[in-house]
Chain length 375, copies 2
């Protein structure tokens, strides 16, 4: 195995492929990146218990002198590639040592046994759904933050993708708040209902940063494959039945208030400063009140430190009854940040019922937050 | 106590004064910032077991309606001040609660008992040494990194400032490497020999970022005071006798090699990539060799991972015997970064003797690194 390639092309590939390296693994071989050198292209593969990534490199700077394959210690290959400059030559010596040369520097890296690298079966069959990379990134940004970080109910640590009647429902919830995005799909398909782990979606979002093209989305029983340009990104699915969330979303709202999103964000951040830190998020509570004179105020109290309150001016006149509702300021902040709209509407169904946030520009998106009871 | 001030002026003061807050303290009152409101200025004070900072604020935006004094929880005052906008009003209610108002937000902070705040006696007597803030910052940057982080020999956790015969010797060493800067002082003074804790110098350097004026430096038995514009910065000194380091610096160098600093830095970083991580720094070893043909090479070996080597081209021809010397790449990298010169000279006294680094533009500065024995 001998080839040369530009440092830029190599770094681009490594930046993608490193997303599939495990943070910790009982299987040391997975700390390596598998490299197959073919006659006119390279194939990089990485995988861990959740996902597998494969990338084909066909750069014009690539010159293959001898084909071959090996597994290279991942962290070292990343560190080295970042520091190199100009053309890079790689060659395998006696199937054991990878010689990397660039300019006046030379590395000899002990490789891992390519026979030990587990086969990753990339799924590619039947008809895929097609998205723009931008839309898929948007869906992840708008839903993934609302998944649960706790393993108590594992199914909630993923985003639910459900297809029915030419609509794709994307939902995430940690049972205290929920995010839902509905995407129209223009061709008919078999219905499906799957849950993708949030960590896999985090990595996928980072890879999508490198693409502005189209993504093909293939679905099987227990895994899904995203095909992005010359990259295959496959992740396992979560087992179990995702809760039916549609029925917990209120539909009647006696009170709706429109806010400038950035003004509201800043006010919430200012008032939350006194919320006790370093405790369970549940305690990070602020109170929103609409008075009889229709003025709106948010406030927080911290018995040890003091309290804060701020009057906020809605973007439009208010039509509805007074209200007094308390909730996590973190949940509101994260929900607001997921909107692209400059103006958002908070829709209240009552003091102890979930409230719903919508944005002008984000028609098919909805965020819901459960209030907490206060005295 | 009632006054108003612009958010900018308040934030400037808080940014300085927060440097004196303790990270951890058995004396909770020190988590507070003392504020004295005088008829035409404010005085902020913070202190911990190492240092005390006092700042006088006489901003044109300041309007005092009633004088007074209090101690405000430091972290909260910082967080709040950062988030405010426009003029800020502060008033003390019943000596217990600080009311902070700005735009539509209002905070009520429980204050701490001002009687409990320990007196900080700021030293200001006899004749000070005067430096430009820029020079003092340079001295700290060039020496402080070489102090010891370990408490095994506490005296080495500070920088030695010794004045003799119109020269100020600034020296730091952790006993494996050393940095020395000699500054000419143009007026005669009493000799002194003091050691300033490295953490205090870190904080001082950050405060100097805000100044381009002159610094007055007052010295007493067990503490020193830096007066920077309207800021008093006082730190305790380390007890003990600083080792006489001059005698360990070699003066005869059979081999000197001039390098482009940035090229050398990059080469060292590339070759160090394989050095074992997460171990004692001592293990982060690279080897520099000058061959008989006068080519220069650096190399590292990691029995588990592999090895790296790079030929480096000196900036000038070499005149001297071949050498084979091993040392910590971290020490060399940190020393090189302390130089402003584009070209540096490595002066070798022998394979098992310390080597000395000098720079064209940094005449009064010298860095020394102890080699390690290799097989």
């Amino acid at each position: 195995m001998i080839f040369t390639i530009s440092q830029e092309a190599l770094l681009d590939a490594i930046n993608i492929i490193q997303r599939g390296l495990p943070t910790r693994t009982p299987l040391p071989i997975l700390n390596g990146i598998k490299l197959e050198v073919k006659e006119d292209h390279l194939v990089f593969t990485s995988s861990n218990s959740d996902l597998g990534i494969q990338m084909i490199v066909q750069d014009e700077s690539l010159e293959v002198l001898a084909t071959g394959q090996t597994v290279i210690p991942g962290r070292y290959l990343i560190d080295i590639t970042r520091k190199l400059d100009g053309p890079v030559e790689m060659s395998l010596i006696e199937n054991k040592v990878l010689l990397i040369r660039s300019d006046r520097v030379e590395y000899k890296l002990h490789t891992m046994n390519v026979e030990d690298y587990p086969e990753v079966n990339f799924l590619e069959n039947n008809t895929p759904i097609k998205f723009s990379a931008a839309l898929l990134k948007e869906i992840i940004k708008e839903t993934n933050y609302a998944t649960s970080e706790l393993e108590k109910r594992p199914i909630l640590t993923g985003v639910n993708f459900k297809y029915e009647d030419k609509k794709l429902y994307c939902v995430a919830t940690d049972s205290y708040r929920l995010s839902q995005k509905i995407v129209d799909v223009d061709h008919e398909m078999e219905p499906f209902n799957i849950v993708i782990p949030n960590k896999s979606l985090d990595e996928l979002a980072k890879i999508l940063d490198y693409s502005d093209g189209e993504v093909e989305f293939y679905i099987a029983q227990n895994k899904v494959l995203f095909k992005i340009d010359n990259i295959l990104f496959q992740t396992r699915l979560l087992d179990g039945v995702y809760p039916d969330t549609l029925r917990i979303i209120p539909t009647e709202f006696p009170l709706s208030i429109k806010f400038n999103k950035n003004d509201l964000l800043k006010s919430v951040e200012r008032v939350s400063l006194l919320s006790p830190k370093e405790r369970d998020n549940q305690y990070n509570i602020i109170k929103l009140s609409v008075k009889k004179d229709q003025s709106v105020e948010i406030a927080s109290t911290n018995s040890e430190i003091g309290d804060a309150h701020e009057v906020i001016i809605p973007a439009e006149g208010i039509d509805g009854p007074p209200i007094n509702i308390a909730f996590s300021s973190k949940y509101l902040t994260e929900a607001l940040r997921a909107f692209s709209s400059n103006e958002v509407v908070l829709n209240f169904a009552g003091e102890i019922r979930p409230f719903v946030i919508k944005g002008d520009l984000d028609e098919n998106m909805l965020h819901l937050i459960l209030p907490v009871r206060i005295d």
